[in-house]
């Protein structure tokens, strides 16, 4: 546990010394606010709900999460610090989990920075706190899975731009694949599979204030699967 905390602390220190991380957080907060107030037009609507705010989260994460995970493993291999890290007496799962927790902490800070928006809007109407809580839980689960996917892509790469492009591409496909039925007429079984695979489809329920156990399970197993495969890739790279 102490080793895991040390790894997480190291990752956090590196993240918060990196300008792209601050740019990514700034982009997320300003893009979400711009969308919500100026495009979605919250103030012109007579609805006390943050549904519009959180509806933008999946597509924003497509750009923001890869910016946070691109350094992950790719930078370790590019700088050669992987030689320092991988020769320490740490197990692969500890290394993977430490890096994941470090990045997730940054994401949690970013999500927490949206809380003042909710608090500022509270006096304007009778907001459903249960729905807002579900929206935050969904955001954390969605971003948790996106971070695991981003780090999974990063472990294959040796430069940040490839890691960013790969992760953004993968997240974009997994976000939009559930909406294929609106542009393509595909057989129902295919659409069902695409909807199940989609990160966005499972997020819809949380945005509506529904805590769906199946959606929760989906995010948890996909995160665990990505972390597990990342640790396998890490071991496989020792054999390459």
């Amino acid at each position: 546990m102490t080793r895991l905390l040390a790894l997480t602390k190291k990752e956090l220190r590196i993240h918060f010394s990196s300008p792209p991380v601050f740019l990514a957080i700034g982009f997320f907060l300003s893009a979400a606010a711009l969308w919500f107030f100026f495009i979605y037009g919250f103030l012109a609507r007579d609805t006390a709900s943050l549904r519009g705010y959180f509806a933008a989260v999946p597509i924003l994460m497509v750009l923001v999460i890869p910016a946070l995970t691109m350094k992950g493993w790719a930078e370790e291999y590019r700088l050669g610090t992987s030689e320092l890290l991988l020769t320490l007496p740490l197990r692969s799962w500890e290394l993977v989990l430490g890096k994941y927790l470090g990045t997730m902490t940054v994401v949690l800070v970013m999500v927490l920075l949206t809380v003042p928006v909710a608090f500022l809007l509270m006096p304007l109407g009778e907001f459903d706190l249960g729905q807002i809580t579900a929206e935050y839980i969904g955001t954390v689960l969605l971003s948790g899975t996106a971070v695991a996917l981003g780090l999974f892509v990063s472990v294959w790469c040796t430069n940040q731009s490839t890691a960013f492009t790969g992760a953004a591409g993968l997240l974009l496909v997994l976000t939009l694949i559930g909406r294929l039925d609106s542009v393509l007429s595909l057989p129902a079984p295919f659409l069902a599979v695409f909807r199940y695979v989609s990160l966005d489809t499972h997020f819809d329920g949380f945005v509506r204030g529904v805590l769906d156990v199946r959606a929760l399970w989906y995010y948890v197993w996909l995160t665990a699967l990505c972390l597990y495969v990342t640790s396998l890739v890490l071991e496989a790279r020792r054999r390459a």
Partner: protein, 325 residues
């Protein structure tokens, strides 16, 4: 302390390390030598568990690095080539991280190496910082440090937890002469406490700090053992080795002409490039052949003295011929 048996590693069709075997006892400093591409770095990565071999075994303190990887790695301190470090951290933060990763933290019951308290933990870090001379930069961000200091921070990270095996890839490559001297002293000192493997392209460096050497060529061990013995074995069965200096100084044409002169087994320009090391053939009659050569070329012999030869000659002979130890 280190047992390497039939170790092989390939990158595609290239055999980087090919059937390498050797054993190193405790408390000795061994030099790992070889020309570029000989497989030194791959071998060091295999020894430290950064890479897994295609075949063969590495045992560190009796622990197989393939099957007991984490435990074996706990016995190793490693300074990779070019000393890669996290530029965002300070030396103190890095050492603190490495220390905890090695199981040294105040009151860590899970590590099995419980220390009496946080002050002892910090004291041990301070000792390492003091030992490698990075006190003045301990709180500066590593990205802003000179290469020399980065190198020393990397060495400090390798010393954390007093590992029984130290693997140092070019540990003095970025140091100035004074720092190089201090580092050599430190390596000699460490050789009293641990098994140290030092890789270097600077042969005088190896001669200065190592008693033993392993020489690699095309991924295979072509020479190993005590450096003096290597020199002696190489010289046995060969003619006399003579250091020669001509006036005017030699050029490439003279070296080629001398090398093809009957009675001469080989010619190697010395590191200083002023003199030549000339190996006579066993049947050659003393230095007469050199007097004849100088006379025929219109050169004066400025200096002519028998020599035992250095590691450089051993290295060049072993890595330019298809020899086996």
């Amino acid at each position: 302390m280190i047992d390497v048996h039939a170790l092989s590693k390939s990158y595609g069709k290239l055999k980087a390390v090919d059937q390498v075997s050797f054993s190193l006892g405790s408390q000795q400093v061994t030099g790992l030598l070889g020309p570029n591409g000989a497989g030194k770095t791959t071998l060091m990565r295999l020894l430290t568990g950064y890479l897994y071999p295609d075949s063969g075994t590495v045992r560190i303190c009796g622990l197989d690095i393939g099957t007991h990887s984490t435990q074996a790695r706990a016995q190793i301190g490693y300074v990779p080539e070019n000393a890669p470090l996290y530029p965002e951290l300070t030396p103190y933060e890095l050492l603190e991280f490495v220390s905890v990763a090695r199981g040294h933290s105040a009151g860590d019951k899970g590590s099995g190496r419980k220390l009496p308290g946080r002050h002892v933990f910090r004291e041990q870090l301070e000792l390492v910082i003091e030992r490698v001379g990075i006190s003045e930069v301990r709180q500066r961000v590593i990205g802003t440090l000179s290469r020399g200091f980065k190198q020393r921070v990397a060495v400090a990270a390798a010393l954390i937890g007093t590992p029984k095996v130290l693997v140092l890839d070019e540990p003095t490559s970025a140091l100035d002469p004074n720092q190089t001297h201090e580092m050599r002293e430190l390596i000699r000192e460490l050789g009293q406490e641990a098994t140290v493997i030092v890789s270097s392209h600077v042969l005088s460096e190896i001669e200065a700090v190592c008693r033993d050497a392993v020489i690699l060529h095309h991924g295979r061990v072509v020479g190993r053992g005590d450096i003096d013995t290597l020199r002696h074995d190489l010289a046995s069965g060969m003619g006399e080795l003579i250091r020669v200096e001509f006036d005017p100084p030699h050029n490439d044409d003279i070296v080629v002409a001398l090398d093809s002169t009957p009675g001469i087994a080989g010619v190697v320009p010395e590191h200083s490039a002023r003199a030549l090391l000339v190996r006579l053939q066993p049947e050659a009659e003393g230095p007469q052949v050199l007097f004849d050569f100088a006379s025929a070329q219109g050169l004066k012999l400025k200096r002519l003295e028998p020599t035992a030869g250095g590691l450089e000659e051993v290295f060049r002979v072993l890595t330019t011929e298809d020899r086996q130890p």
